[in-house]
C-alpha cells in the first residue's frame, strides 16, 4: 500500500543541494536586499514610470533575484518533501501523512497569529516567508519523527 506520487530516493539529495543555497539566497534577499546585477531587467527608452502594471509582460523594471530564488527554493523543498525514504513502507507513509497534517495545521495557526499581530510591511514579509513554511515545517517534523524511530530501534537492539 505505497503512495503513488513519491519520487525516487536519490532526488532527495538533489533537493537539498538546490534548497540550501536557494534558502540562503532568499534570506539575504529578503533581509538585506541582496540582488544579482545580471538579473536586472529594464525596458529601454522609458518615458514615464507606471507602478500599477504588475503582470510579467507589463513590468518596466524588476530584479529577478527573488523570483529566481523563490522558484528554486520551492522546487528544492518539494523534491525533499516528496522523495521516498530508502526504507519507505506503509508506516513511513503514515508518518508522512501525519507530519503533513501537523505542518498544515501549525502553519495555519501561525498565519492566524500573524494576521492578528503583525501589520503593513512586516506582515508582507511574513507572508513572503509563508510561501515555503508549510514545506519547511513538514520536513523538520517528518525527519525528527523518523530519526527518533530509528534511534529507538538501535537502542532496542543493543
Amino acid at each position: 500500500m505505497l503512495t503513488k506520487f513519491l519520487l525516487p530516493n536519490r532526488l532527495k539529495a538533489v533537493g537539498w543541494i538546490i534548497a540550501i543555497p536557494a534558502f540562503i539566497l532568499m534570506i539575504l534577499n529578503l533581509q538585506f536586499g541582496f540582488t544579482f546585477p545580471f538579473l536586472d531587467y529594464e525596458v529601454k527608452g522609458l518615458k514615464n514610470i507606471s507602478f500599477d502594471n504588475g503582470f510579467l509582460f507589463n513590468i518596466q523594471y524588476n530584479n529577478f533575484t527573488d523570483e529566481f530564488g523563490g522558484v528554486l527554493l520551492i522546487i528544492g523543498l518539494l523534491l525533499i518533501t516528496f522523495s521516498k525514504e530508502k526504507d519507505e513502507d506503509e508506516m513511513i507513509s503514515k508518518l508522512r501523512l501525519e507530519s503533513l497534517l501537523w505542518a498544515v495545521f501549525i502553519n495555519s495557526v501561525l498565519i492566524i497569529l500573524s494576521i492578528i499581530l503583525f501589520y503593513s510591511e512586516l506582515f508582507l514579509k511574513i507572508m513572503a516567508y509563508n510561501i515555503c513554511t508549510t514545506l519547511i515545517l513538514f520536513i523538520i517534523r517528518f525527519n525528527l519523527t523518523i530519526y527518533f524511530e530509528r534511534k529507538k530501534i538501535n537502542k532496542d537492539n543493543l
Binding site: M91, I92, E149
Partner: protein, 66 residues
C-alpha cells in the same frame, strides 16, 4: 489490538530485522507493531501470518477498546 509477533519470533528464532526483510518493510515498522504503536495494514498482517504459518487471528487479537 494486541499481537503475538514477539512470541512467534522467539519460536522461529528470528530477529525483528529478519522478519522485516521477509515481509519487505523497515525494522521500525516491525518494532512499532510489536510495541502496539502501529496497526499494520491487512496486506502486511497477512504477510506476517504467512511467515509464521498461522491464522491471522492467532497472531492479531482484537481488544475490547478497539
Amino acid at each position: 489490538m494486541k499481537n503475538t509477533i514477539r512470541v512467534e519470533r522467539a519460536i522461529l528464532n528470528i530477529t525483528q530485522a529478519d522478519l522485516a526483510e521477509k515481509v519487505k518493510v523497515s525494522r521500525q515498522t516491525i518494532n512499532a507493531i510489536e510495541s502496539n504503536k502501529y496497526v499494520p495494514s491487512t496486506v502486511l498482517s497477512l504477510k506476517i501470518s504467512r511467515v509464521f504459518q498461522k491464522n491471522l487471528e492467532d497472531i492479531f487479537i482484537l481488544e475490547d477498546t478497539d
